[in-house]
Each structure stands twice: as structure tokens, then as C-alpha cells.
């Protein structure tokens, strides 16, 4: 993958206001995660985001850490799957298992996308829409509120 392409991806990622982005292509894996400071999250129009990039897996090319442009536009076109209950968010059925879905996964109504644990009960959360997961807003094993966005879905 060319440096230019990575740059473009980072620009796109920060433009869309993603908090996490993962891309896998053959043996190359790129993971970008953005952390907003609290004020930024509270503001209705985020103005600045700190974007970190890390190249996780084996790539023959060296990838420098890049600064993202400061302007982030609020995303509009993504469908958000929200948590139907308060609890703890799990991306996989067990700590050692693969996640139910990843960025890029195609989902449809009924696809199990995650687990929210409430009172020691593992509640499988199913998708209510057909599309592609483009964003995962919550980290594995983190608490979620009722109505908190979990996944951003590009509706097909």
C-alpha cells in the first residue's frame, strides 16, 4: 500500500469522525484509532480530534505516523445500531473467540453483532438493518448505556 493511499485513508477517517478504523489487505493490516478529548465529544460539532495511527501487522513498507487534518465533519449517512440495554459490551462470544463482526463485515437483520452483559446474562444483540459495519464506537469489555451507539453501519 502506498503512503499516499494511507494518507488518504487517514484523511477520510478523520473527516468522517470515526473513532476506530481497521483495514486488512492480504498480509497488511492498518488500524487507526482517534481519541477525542471530552470537550470535543460534548460539543455538538467536534472541532479537533487527535488521530493516532498504528500499523499492526507485517508490511514491507514503512508507515510513518501522520498528523490528521484538524477539521472533522459530523457524519450523517451512517445508521447507528444502539445498545438496547445498559451493561457491558463484548465483541466476541468468549475472550478467545473471534469477534462477531469487524469493520467491513456485511450484516443483515438477525446477524448477531455483539453481546451486552446485564446481571450476568449474556444478551446477544442482533442487527436490525442490512449493511456494512464501518464503525465500532465502543471498545470490547466497556460499559454501555441504554441507547448508546455501538456500531455505525453503511446501509446497503
Amino acid at each position: 500500500m502506498e503512503l499516499k493511499e494511507i494518507k488518504e485513508i487517514i484523511e477520510l477517517v478523520s473527516e468522517k469522525g470515526f473513532t476506530e478504523f481497521e483495514l486488512q489487505k492480504d498480509s497488511f493490516r492498518l488500524k487507526i484509532s482517534a481519541s477525542f478529548n471530552q470537550e470535543t465529544i460534548l460539543a455538538s460539532k467536534p472541532q479537533a480530534a487527535i488521530v493516532k495511527t498504528e500499523v499492526v501487522a507485517t508490511s514491507l513498507e514503512k508507515t510513518p505516523v501522520l498528523q490528521a487534518p484538524p477539521q472533522v465533519k459530523p457524519e450523517q449517512e451512517l445508521y447507528k445500531i444502539k445498545s438496547p440495554i445498559v451493561g457491558t459490551f463484548y465483541r466476541a462470544p468468549s475472550p478467545t473467540a473471534d469477534p462477531f463482526v469487524k469493520v467491513g463485515s456485511q450484516i443483515k437483520q438477525g446477524t448477531v453483532i455483539c453481546i451486552v452483559e446485564a446481571m450476568k446474562l449474556m444478551n446477544e444483540i442482533e442487527s436490525d438493518i442490512v449493511g456494512e459495519i464501518v464503525e465500532i464506537y465502543v471498545e470490547n469489555n466497556h460499559p454501555v448505556e441504554y441507547g448508546q451507539p455501538l456500531f455505525g453501519v453503511k446501509v446497503n
Binding site: I85, V86, G87, T88, E117, A118, M119, L121, P143, V144, E145, Y146, G147, Q148
Partner: protein, 452 residues
Amino acid sequence: MFKKILIANRGEIACRVIWACRELGIETVAIYSEADSDSLHVRFADDAVCIGPPPSGQSYLHIPAVISAAEIKNVDAIHPGYGFLAENAHFAEVCEACNIKFIGPTPQAIRTMGDKAQAKKAMKDAGLPLLPGSDGIVETVEEAITIAANIGYPVIVKASAGGGGRGMRIVRNASELTSAYQTARHEAGAAFNDPSVYIEKYLENPRHIEFQILGDTQGNVVHLGERECSIQRRHQKLIEEAPSVLLTPEIREKVGTLVAKACQAIGYVSAGTIELLFDNDCNFYFMEMNTRIQVEHPVTEMITGVDLVQAQIRIAAGEPLGFSQEDVRFNGHSIECRINAEHPEKFTPSPGLITAFNVPGGPGVRIDTAAYPGYTVPPNYDSMVGKLIVHAATRQMAIARMKRALDVMIVEGIKTTIPLHRRIMDSPDFISGNLSTRFMETFLAQQKAGQG
């Protein structure tokens, strides 16, 4: 002492618990439904979790959501406030099973007192007088007729699982009894899924007077005197005061000692209220026990100086009361008016946007509220938007203080009961302390006649 408490409630009582925790140095977690994201309890708690959509059944009453919030926030204890899950024995048990301290009495005490027939039996055994009536549930019409003849008319048929006036029938003579018995059973079955009813003597003009008690885990129980709560409409209290003009210090001591002993006998822990009916000769009868902090607790706090919510928390943490009955002093007189988002004459609910909000201040005035200018009273919950409480040296001075406070308490955008309270403060019956649970009925009839 606890490090972090989750408050399983909303509105003014959630704020009241937050204030108590702040003063005790305890962190707070608020829970809220989607209808309450702009509420003050969410803003003022150290942390807050949205637990569900607006209907209480899916949020404030939904035990898995409440417990799950407590678990993700890692709290040591839950304060249930009043209403919602405050008197739900199952909830208290779930808290216990999850190693979260329920700030209140034991599940067993909640369960016993939640069942009117069981509560009466327990309190009778503990030494409190009961209204003459059936010994528990009345199974047949024939039995009802015999019992009613024995205790003398009028009698009242009440649902064992009841409340709020449902499954309740007043019977003035034998000819009305059969149909009243059957209707009450039918209503009780429909409303509470339990058709059990009992029968007792009906008092024509009783006063509703209740005693506040506090019990700790070491077995100490004190009473903090009474609250006069006779001003009610459809079993909903509107104005409460402490002390009651009916009770002399001797009667207060006699009844207070009796209720404290009864609570000690059942091993009661935490704050509780013994509701009694008084006739004008000071005969009194046990009605029910409330195993929670009550809406009207501030009038007791004002005249005793005891912070009841902090006491609940300290007791739940295992601390001793720290004072005895001899230390309890009653100072002056306190009155509370419940400010409801209701039409002051028609009593229809009036939710909506509060456009202007001014609260009175000055000496001896206390406001417990979660409302503010720009707050929208949601239609999903009860209509109380605040409590105006005054304290003064005498009852007369307290009434004068309440009047001047009501005059500058401004709530615009919604209808409230403020004008109603202002008129009650001018009522000769109220001023003279001539109170009974029929007060509002008479007062509203007089107002209507006056206008016509």
C-alpha cells in the same frame, strides 16, 4: 462507609439523596430514562447512566437495568428513594444477591409490611391497636356479614394488596354489603391480581397521623414524632405538618414509645413510618407501615434537626444511630406543600415546559425540587415538581411564612397547585387545625359554593 451509591430514582428525591451523599463524602451515580436526560439529578450526580426508554417499566422499575447500571459503575449501595423500587422486596433481595447494599430495611420486613393483612398481624402482635375488623382475609359473603354486624356499621371493605383507593368500598348498612364485597373483590383481582379483601371499622372523620421511626442494626429504635397528613385528595397527600395540633406532648410520648417498641419487636432497621388513624378523642389505630423514606420527611427533619436520608445511609453502612430517644427534641412547627404540575381546581396533570421559575428564600424556607427554568416536566412520571417547606417557632408563624413563600414562588408555563395551597392557608378550618381526611372534600365543596 460506602464509597459510591447509585440512586435508583429521579426528580427531587434523587437530588435529595445526592445532597446527603455529598455531605457524607460519598460519590453518586444517577440513573435516568431517555425522558430525563435534562434532569438535575443527572447533572448533579458524579456519574450518570441512561438505563432505558421513558416508560418506568422499562427504566426506573426495570430491575435488570438498574442492577446492571450498578454493576458497570461498581457501586457499594443503592438508595431507592420513594416509589418505584423502594418497597419491592424482590429488588432488595436481588441487591443482596449481587453484593450491593440496599439502603432500607430487610427484604423480609418490606414483604411483611407490603401485605396489609400480614402487616396488621405483625403490628398487633407487636402491641399496636388495630381498627376493629376481620382477622385477616374475608373468604365469603356470609363471613363478611357476620363480621360487619359484630364491629358495627359503617365498615370499609379493602383489598389486601391494595392502595390508591382501588378495591375499597365504604358500607353504611347491611343491605349494601353483599354488592360492595363482591365489587371490591372484583376490583382487587383486576388491579392487583389478588382478590383478597378484609373488613374493618370505618371512621367518619379520622386524622391521618404518622410516626417517623429510625432503627439501626444494633437494635436501637427511636421515634422522631409525628406528621399530620390529613390533607389528602384521593389518598394523595397535599400538605403535611409536624407536629400535629391534636397531640399533646404526653400523647406523643405514649404513642411514640409504643410504635418504637413495636418496630424494635419486629427487628426493624432503617427509616420507617407507622401510619395511624386518630379520632378526635385520640384513640388511634395502626393502618400500615411504609418501609421507605417518605415524600414528607422534611417536616420531621425541620423540627428534629435529624437528617433522615443521611441516617438511612449510615444505618445501612452498619453504623449505630448515635443518639437515643432522650436526645430527640422537637423545635417549632413545620409545614410542607407539595407543588404538583396539576390544574389547581381540576387536578388534571399539566406537564410541559417551565418558562419561569422563582423559588422563595429567606429565614425558615426550604425547597426540595429538581425543576428549573427551561425544564420540561415529562408526562411519564408523577406530577410533583417540588416541595415547599417552612419552619417557624409556632404553627401560626409557620402559616404566615408559608403564605409569604407561596406568594413569591413562581412557576410559569405549566399549571401548579400553588394557588390551591395559598387558598388552603387562608381556610378557617386549616388555620384552626380542624383537620381530617375529609378536609379536601369539604374545602373543595366550600370553594365551589363560594364561587357559585
